[in-house]
Symmetry: none
Subunit: 207 residues, 4 copies
């Protein structure tokens, strides 16, 4: 697109992609506020104006990044949720998916959660609260997938009559924490099993 593109593969990913990738690095490392557009363009090896050709503001760049990153994850979660597996199996699969996703995007997600709470931005150029709401929704969509599975489990009698909403959030928080604490080694499955195990069967010894 525009510009001479040599024979190689390196430019296959567009300028926009380069920027998004650089933004990922910088936002993940620095958080939203300490990240500077200057650092992003330096890493993306592009000009400042280019960023503003593709994104209307730093904030919109940030949220675009989040959106593009979370879509595949959301899709995968939906597939598991809609699959024919048993609830208990679905739970473990979802835990595994979430561990994988968050391990990949831990820092960026931490930053997003912070911003979404309203701590970040707002004083700058705007970015309507309705846009923030959309990201809250994204988060809640994930959660409700999980909640639904728990409800199914309860209905089928394989789970106790727990509070499914809170339990879903709790399970989720554990996953995130495992990632934040870097408790998730190469082998995601082990951690997934551990988490699922305690969630399902508890820490107490069965008398």
């Amino acid at each position: 697109m525009g510009h001479y593109r040599g024979g190689g593969h390196e430019d296959t990913r567009s300028k926009r992609q380069h920027i998004l990738e650089a933004a990922y690095e910088v936002f993940s490392k620095k958080g939203y506020h300490r990240a500077t557009v200057d650092e992003i363009i330096a890493m993306a090896d592009t000009g400042k104006g280019t960023v503003y050709n593709y994104f209307t503001s730093k904030e919109q760049l940030f949220y675009t990044l989040i959106r593009e990153r979370s879509q595949p994850f959301e899709k995968a979660m939906s597939q598991v949720a809609d699959s024919e597996e048993q609830p208990l199996v679905k739970i473990e699969l979802m835990v595994r998916l979430a561990l994988g996703f968050y391990r990949e995007n831990a820092d960026l997600w931490r930053v997003m959660m912070h911003e979404i709470r309203g701590f970040g931005s707002e004083g700058h150029t705007a970015m309507a609260p309705e846009i923030k709401a959309k990201y809250h929704e994204g988060f809640r969509r994930i959660l409700s997938r999980m909640e639904k599975v728990l409800d199914d489990g309860i209905a089928q009698g394989v789970l106790r009559k727990i509070d499914s909403t809170r339990s879903a959030y709790g399970l989720f928080s554990v996953i995130v924490m495992m990632v934040y604490q870097k408790f998730v080694d190469e082998d995601i499955e082990t951690t997934a099993r551990q988490v699922t195990d305690i969630f399902l069967y508890g820490a107490a010894r069965r008398s």
Copy 2:
């Protein structure tokens, strides 16, 4: 600090307190970056210079705030840990304590967690990483109290041979999440029991 308080000038000592209280409000509401010293002094009804008489920087003010707020909590956790109660009882007590503490300080803690990750400061004016380390320590001290209790439980055979470190972190994360999601109503004990119940006995129906 802790100055002589003569009879006349009743506010000598409380200036510092006023600032801390205002800082609590502002940091909680705005997060670290969006909080401004101007807003803090407006709320504390004091001069700008005064802040810098008591605290060396915005950052040090923030961390002082955290420290002073967490001390009573740390002490209470220690007391429970060192008490003569049964491990399972201790667990529920600790959950209750933590729920209470975080409910009180939810926003400020969320902010702190974010900053401590390294998103804040670093390149700015000072506040060596070693100081951040101290706050990590504080966090870890709490965690290790809990871990110790879990280990005792395992040793006494009332808990399964779970990974006590990860379990402590997991339990902790659930507590924090409950608070963040405002799932904790007036009655802390109910939530505490719910959390403890699933942690100990699992969500699965015992066949």
Copy 3:
């Protein structure tokens, strides 16, 4: 410029015209600084590069616009000046012409007057002061036509021995003001007569 217009490509020449028309709209509405090339090309429905094929810069586009718009006016003023009419008649005719022209181009001229004063450009990309001088000249050419008529009137004894330069400028300024204040209704002649009347015979009652 003024290219061959074959039968097929009817738009070859008009591209330049489209741009000039769009520029007229945008400069008139926004002034020189707030006008953006982006807005002009959007309105002209052309590409950005095209503008720079026909004009060397935003500034040169602006001045070209001014020049092309003022030429017919200058010509008409010259015709009146060179005609065989009586000086007093010439004056009213010129007032009428000027009112018509400025009513048509009020905003653009206001913008030009501002820029020409030296408020615009200068430190920017080019457009030497000598070019500005040319536009001053254009303005002064109009004025000197009028001045000449006044001098003729004095010579013929139909005007008092007024300062013809200043009077021409004064008369001119009134015309412009009438337009700026939107005092010129559909019927230009009425205003022209009013202006000429006071200029010639004064506001005071003849005793």
Copy 4:
């Protein structure tokens, strides 16, 4: 105020005054858009933040400047209007006042008139249209003073039944033009008399 103030007189005029004076120079020379805050602070020999301590934005600085400069003039015009002089005398006095004021502030006023028209700003930080309206008002207040005097003259039979509104604007425009063209020498009274003379008695020779 703050800072050590040596023995001299030089600091008597506050920082705020220095900034206003520098702003006057820069806005007058460069116009609103090309004037930069950096240039203003350089000339005021102050820090950038200081400007924003006294003024909320570049725009508000500009309008404050206008307001403070025009107040004495408005007051003087009112005094003449309300005096006991004859209308014809008042007219000449007002012309003299206006010539003096505009000679002093010619460039700044030209810039203001341009901005007020809506050509400037707006895209930046805001400055509500209601504020612009206030400056329009200021302008119109002056004009209506003059208009009133003309109406009095008509009522007293010393002026013809001219359109007083348009005439006031016309008279005004001539004054401004004289200033812009630097036709006003040291001796304001001469120009004032010239202008008044033609306005009252016309350019035509009385037969």
